[in-house]
């Protein structure tokens, strides 16, 4: 039996785990005791991370559409056909008629090469990935406020916090190792404040639970600021020395009195006061947030309001302080870092910046497009309208994970050519012209970058099934078919190229990455990495306060309830892997809509009743589950299930700044299926 230390494939915590390999098969996983985040622990998905690897459904040979059938072909045929079709479309409609969606499940090396494929080979900046649907508001909001969209501190830093505000994060289910760290801090004396409309386990364990109405985050955050300013709990030295724009913020905060906040959010003034006092008085406080904050049409404003809170209290740049946008996928941070975004090259170098472009042109030996590309959701719209005609989707399943599923189907069907690379057949591969079978995390080498900016090594434990290949090889093959040099003997050589063009990864090489990895920025080979950002200064000089107002929330009498979506502890995203993990699927075998018992009584619904949930975009038949975890007026559906895809109901209302769709608040109505 071999044991190989690698990184968990699921969430952004980036736990270290050991794969147990017997006769060329992964037979188990266990936690890595020396790893700085897992410290010998894992969540249930991590313990079972190996279980889907050898599932018989794995894609094993390249497939090409022949009418209604998919025929097995050689790699050469699949790749040459893909290259030819993409080239034909480019000749007819220009490079911006092509697009690539990369995967936050892929390695840094894969994301880098796919972004390079879009820019250097296809000639378009139309490259994006699922971060658009999760932390685009963090990249946008924290980018302008602090100068970097990433988590400021490592997870471990929370152990030294005196107060922790968790908002829009179902931490025990979505980032269990962060939750464990927070609860450890609480046991050591930190005050835990949780703001969540749902009574999650985290809310249940909190010292103070705020339950705001959906979509009112700016109001209560500004309200906390109002009280903190009123009580003189701001950090004046910090504000004077390291920030700008505070006076305008102060004026804004004045208007968010506890009474005004209660009218908007429903939070009793007493609770808000307790939270403000605990946060304001703490010598070291941190803010942890996730999709419940960002997946709103006011996502960027929500993030800016939280940034105001940490800046006003001087909670940046020290151990125990900071702002922690929790990344969903194990490598969504890395995919962003690698420039799988329409406006950035790797390391957030702007495509519009002529100097950055010249540098990349020199490195890649080709001309590069100057105009920013389309974002993920915009790509789907462009596809439906015929402006995008050819697409490569690597390891994403937009049919389940993107908003407004009906539109996604129309968009993907309108494409003249679609190639999809994945490890399992999905609802998206079903629409593809070419399906490319690729290696899972246990079958390839490379690096993932976790939510705390920790760049860590992923190691090949077994060989891919059948003819499946690591995507680094697939991307390199495609690059060569577009006459772009791509002679990489190994993923390490790709990392060599990444570090040569990416200042924040400048000192990273696979050889340097031990069990603790390296946190970026790591500009040079002798640099130890940076665990805590903004210690002496901000990348933008001074941090900035932004005046953000609570959006008016229109009521729609036809759709009196609000649907919010999320994930369960036992599944990951579209369930491609977890639904093929026997013990995980058994925990949550089907989708349900969570309804508050009071709402349910009014509707005549009991647990187990089939109901129809309708929104302006679609409808869905699903089983009801009664629970006080959701407040009155709100219903909740996990989005993992193809049988009851929650995103049939969601809309594409985008946040104006970051273009994230407002997935967390869709007006809906519910009736009994038989009524």
């Amino acid at each position: 039996m071999e044991k190989i230390a690698t990184i968990c494939v699921y969430c952004g915590c980036g736990c270290g785990l050991v794969l147990h390999v017997e006769d060329g098969r992964v037979v188990g996983a266990s936690p890595s005791p020396a790893h700085p985040v897992s410290r010998g622990r894992l969540c249930v998905k991590g313990w079972l991370a190996a279980d889907f690897v050898h599932h018989p459904d794995r894609l094993k040979t390249p497939l090409v559409r022949r009418g209604e059938r998919m025929a097995r072909v050689s790699w050469d045929e699949a790749l040459s056909l893909s290259a030819r079709r993409l080239r034909e479309i480019r000749e007819e409609s220009g490079p911006d008629s092509l697009a690539i969606l990369t995967s936050a499940k892929g390695t840094n090396e894969e994301n880098y090469l796919l972004a390079k494929l879009a820019r250097a080979a296809l000639g378009t900046n139309n490259v994006d990935h699922v971060a658009r649907l999760c932390h685009a508001p963090s990249v946008a909001g924290l980018g302008i406020a602090l100068g970097s969209g990433a988590m400021t501190n490592p997870i471990r830093s929370l152990l030294s916090s005196d107060a922790i505000l968790v908002t829009g994060s179902n931490t025990t289910e979505q980032h269990p190792l962060v939750a464990a760290t927070i609860l450890e801090a609480q046991a050591r004396g930190a005050t835990l404040i949780v703001a969540d409309p749902r009574r999650t386990q985290m809310a249940e364990l909190a010292d103070i639970h705020l339950a705001p109405r959906l979509g009112t985050d700016v109001a209560w955050t500004n309200g906390m600021l109002n009280l903190i300013i009123g009580r003189g709990l701001i950090d004046e030295d910090f504000i004077n020395e390291r920030t700008e724009g505070f006076s305008a913020l102060k004026e804004l905060a004045l208007r968010y009195t506890p009474a005004a906040v209660e009218r908007i959010t429903g939070i009793p003034p007493g609770d808000l006061e307790k939270a403000a006092a605990a946060f304001g008085e703490a010598p070291r406080a941190g803010v942890v947030y996730a999709m419940g904050t960002t997946q709103h049409s006011s996502g960027t404003d929500n993030v800016l309001a939280l940034a105001n809170l940490v800046l006003a209290t001087g909670n940046v740049g020290r151990d125990g302080t900071g702002i922690y946008p929790l990344r969903g996928h194990q490598n969504v941070q890395g995919a962003c870092d690698m420039g799988a975004l329409p406006i950035f090259y790797s390391g957030y170098q702007k495509v519009e910046d002529p100097a950055a472009r010249r540098k990349m042109e020199a490195a890649w030996g080709t001309d590069l497009p100057a105009t920013p590309g389309l974002t993920a959701v915009e790509m789907m719209e462009a596809a439906e309208e015929g402006r995008i005609r050819g697409m490569i989707i690597s390891g994403e399943n937009p049919m389940i994970s993107y908003p407004d599923r009906g539109q996604v189907i129309r968009a993907l069907r309108s494409l003249d050519f679609l190639a999809v690379a994945d490890i399992f057949p999905t609802e998206t591969t079903a629409l593809a012209d070419v399906v490319l079978p690729v290696a899972s995390f246990a079958e390839k080498d490379g690096t993932f970058t976790s939510t705390e900016r920790r760049i860590q090594r992923v190691r090949r434990a077994v060989t891919p099934p059948g003819e499946a290949r690591p995507e680094v090889e697939v991307a390199a093959e495609l690059l060569r078919r577009f006459s772009v040099t791509a002679d990489y003997a190994s993923p390490e050589e790709v990392m060599g190229e990444i570090s040569s063009v990416t200042p924040s990864y400048g000192g990273v090489s696979s050889r340097r990455l031990g069990i603790s990895g390296l946190s970026w920025p790591c500009p040079s080979p002798d640099h130890p990495g940076t665990e805590i950002l903004h210690q002496g200064s901000f990348p933008i000089g001074r941090a900035r306060f932004y005046v953000v107002e609570q959006q008016h929330l229109p009521e729609d009498l036809d759709y009196p309830l609000f649907l919010t979506t999320g994930r369960s502890l036992f599944h990951f995203h579209t369930g491609t892997m977890t639904r093929r993990t026997h013990l995980l699927d058994r925990e949550r075998p089907k989708a349900t809509v969570d309804i508050n018992p009071a709402d349910a009584a009014a509707l005549g619904v009991r647990s187990g009743t089939m109901v129809v949930v309708e929104s302006a975009t679609g409808s869905l038949e699903i089983e009801a589950r009664l629970t006080a975890e959701v407040p009155m007026g709100t219903v909740y559906i996990p989005f993992h299930f193809a049988e009851a895809p929650a995103n049939q109901l969601t809309t594409r209302t985008l946040d104006p700044t970051s273009k994230i769709p407002g997935l967390k608040r869709t007006p809906v109505r519910i009736r009994r299926a038989d009524g």
Binding site: M1, K3, L42, G46, L583
Partner: protein, 337 residues
Amino acid sequence: MTSTTALFISREDLIHLLEELSGTLEVVAPVLVGDEAAFATWRGEALALDDKNPLASPVEFFLPKKEVLFRYVQYSGRYTFSEDPPKARLIFGMRPCDLLALKVIDGIFGADLSDLPYAGRRRSTIIVALNCTSPGEGCFCRSMGSGPVAEGGYDLLLTDLGRGYLVEAGSPAGVYILRAHHRHFEEADIEDIKEKERLLALAGEKMIKRGPFPNPEKIREAIDGADWEEAGRRCLACGGCSFVCPVCHCFSVLDQGVPDGERLRCRDSCILSGFSRMTSGANPRPDPGERLRHWYLDKFVYIPEKTGLFGCVGCGRCSRVCLGEADRWSFFREATE
């Protein structure tokens, strides 16, 4: 030379011995994986014996987390079946707590109708145990009667004396190895034996403050009186306590692949709600607290009823992996005070 005589082997000779043995057997030993000791096939790398007992117990070599019970192939409407024979293995460096865990499992998988795959692996595995001279922080083997000194259940037993190891045989297979490879061993002198006694007494003393042997009745009372709802509120449902436990052995069986495929046996966990949920949807243990209570009852009431041994050997692993920071040992301490 007899099996009761103690021998001595130097660190260098130990490596030579393992090299020779690995010619005919798969030698499994603790080696460094990701900076920490883990049991894996030994290929001549440095042994990681000074570290804590590895987090993943070597019991997995007898009860794998996932095993193929057999393969099925359909041909012209007929099924044929095939299975792999057990591997000939030597596990080096197994600690006393894991040895006792194996004995408990023998009482379950070996009793009445013996489980064939388990029995096959048991028969084809040689165990070289290692007495624990430096117990880990969370270990309470002494309280559970499993360590730090191994009592039976091994083929060979080693004690680290610093400059080398004292070696004792515990079975005919052990005696055979000592004879067949005699040139690596020398007679131990009386000082070596005294040194062993001294080191093990010291290790035992370190653990004295970790409480006396628990009284089953007191434990039952403690289980009945505990606030399981509160325990359940803090449990993050990672399943780690049962996945890591060397005594936990629940499994589920599933067939993967149509028409050809494999029948798999996989580790399961009573901490997961799906374990006790019935097809109708009803669940006799719907809350995490109730499942935790069951976990303790199994270890301290049901398994002892069946095997005469506790279902816990005090290895401390469940506390190491707990995401909810439940320190099992504090529970036992309260139960026995």
